[in-house]
Symmetry: C2
Subunit: 206 residues, 2 copies
Amino acid sequence: MKSYRSWRAGETILLEGADLPFVGSIVRGCATLTRSMEDGRVQMVGLLMPSDFVGRHDRDTAAYEVVAATDVTFCLFKRGDFRTMLAETPHVMERMLQMSLDELDAARDWMILLGRKTAREKVATLLANILRRAASAGHPLRAELPLTRDAMASYLGLTIETVSRQMTSLRKEGLIEMQGHRGISCADLPALLTAAGDDEDGLPLA
Amino acid sequence: MKSYRSWRAGETILLEGADLPFVGSIVRGCATLTRSMEDGRVQMVGLLMPSDFVGRHDRDTAAYEVVAATDVTFCLFKRGDFRTMLAETPHVMERMLQMSLDELDAARDWMILLGRKTAREKVATLLANILRRAASAGHPLRAELPLTRDAMASYLGLTIETVSRQMTSLRKEGLIEMQGHRGISCADLPALLTAAGDDEDGLPLA
DNA sequence: GGACTTACTTGACCTGAATCAAAGAGCGGC
DNA sequence: GCCGCTCTTTGATTCAGGTCAAGTAAGTCC
């Protein structure tokens, strides 16, 4: 009933508007969700990490383009099978509801970033998020960026040049260090969060 | 088990982080969902219209500030009661899931607007949305704006001055007409949609 | 180990929207 | 009917980030 399938970094998994026979979740790696305008402008609307869910059981076409950001493996269910499962096991439905409400909160958080944050704050926010995720996976203060500069720009509503400049400036100010183009580390995460404009972690480190 | 409560335009319904004893849906009028940063920057993250749902049954504080945009009436359930209802009636849960997935799609659509559209496109998109909603409520080509310029700016990630200038420019170009500050009409919705940058309505009016 | 290619950085310049500053325009209160 | 609100428009100016244009660095393919 469930199957696994993998894609290499850069491969397109689903095209906007394409037929969507499967739903599923990420097992390993990282994928991006993007929408684009006819004239070619692109905006990433979600970054999928392990355990994140993709697809709608009640829709038969994809609303977004899905692209593998790194090598990625999905666990897939046929849409019909998944619907049956939902109908038969209420706690799966409850879990789906919770996950989609969490995604909604995350999307709305991102709206503040897109609408109101400066380029510097946007970049700092993304880096801090990635570092936080790495920390909770057991690698504190250091992470490998799963995204190209291009993908970062698309996620942040910026151009690639602006992302690059802000990374350079954060590095020169000592807020982050870089190991090559993809490796980042940060000795002072609170300082980075301040640069990100969300100081609301708040909790004194008593 | 359910109760009704009304607020006047401008009144705050819920503060960010406040205790949230109720969930519910809008019966009449219109309310805004906003998040703000410590330094006062504000971004609207949702515009609630009749039938839209507010609150999370599984969270006990509000994630957003909710403010009445017009006089507004809610139908409210105690959170505990609502959870019982969800557990007992699967099709209510299914409906909630569908609604939250629709909200998620809408939030992601808005991310393109915030991240990639120009001020002109943003304003045109909002006006077109409002006109479309009015049309489906039986008032084609004409609508009363439920939002002040301030609220529009907050929704669109712009300043109030920019919103005002873009409204003026759309009016001067003949894409819209205005009756006072709040009334708008549009003889050529497709042209407005083109100005909005989403030409994908596509459907020939055959 | 050079020739491509792809990803990233840096610089110079420009422009769209923000900011700062004044006016209008309604509108409720008395 | 005038005062004092609040909401909106308009103008002048500034500036953050976009655009255009070169570089640089790190692979990968013969």
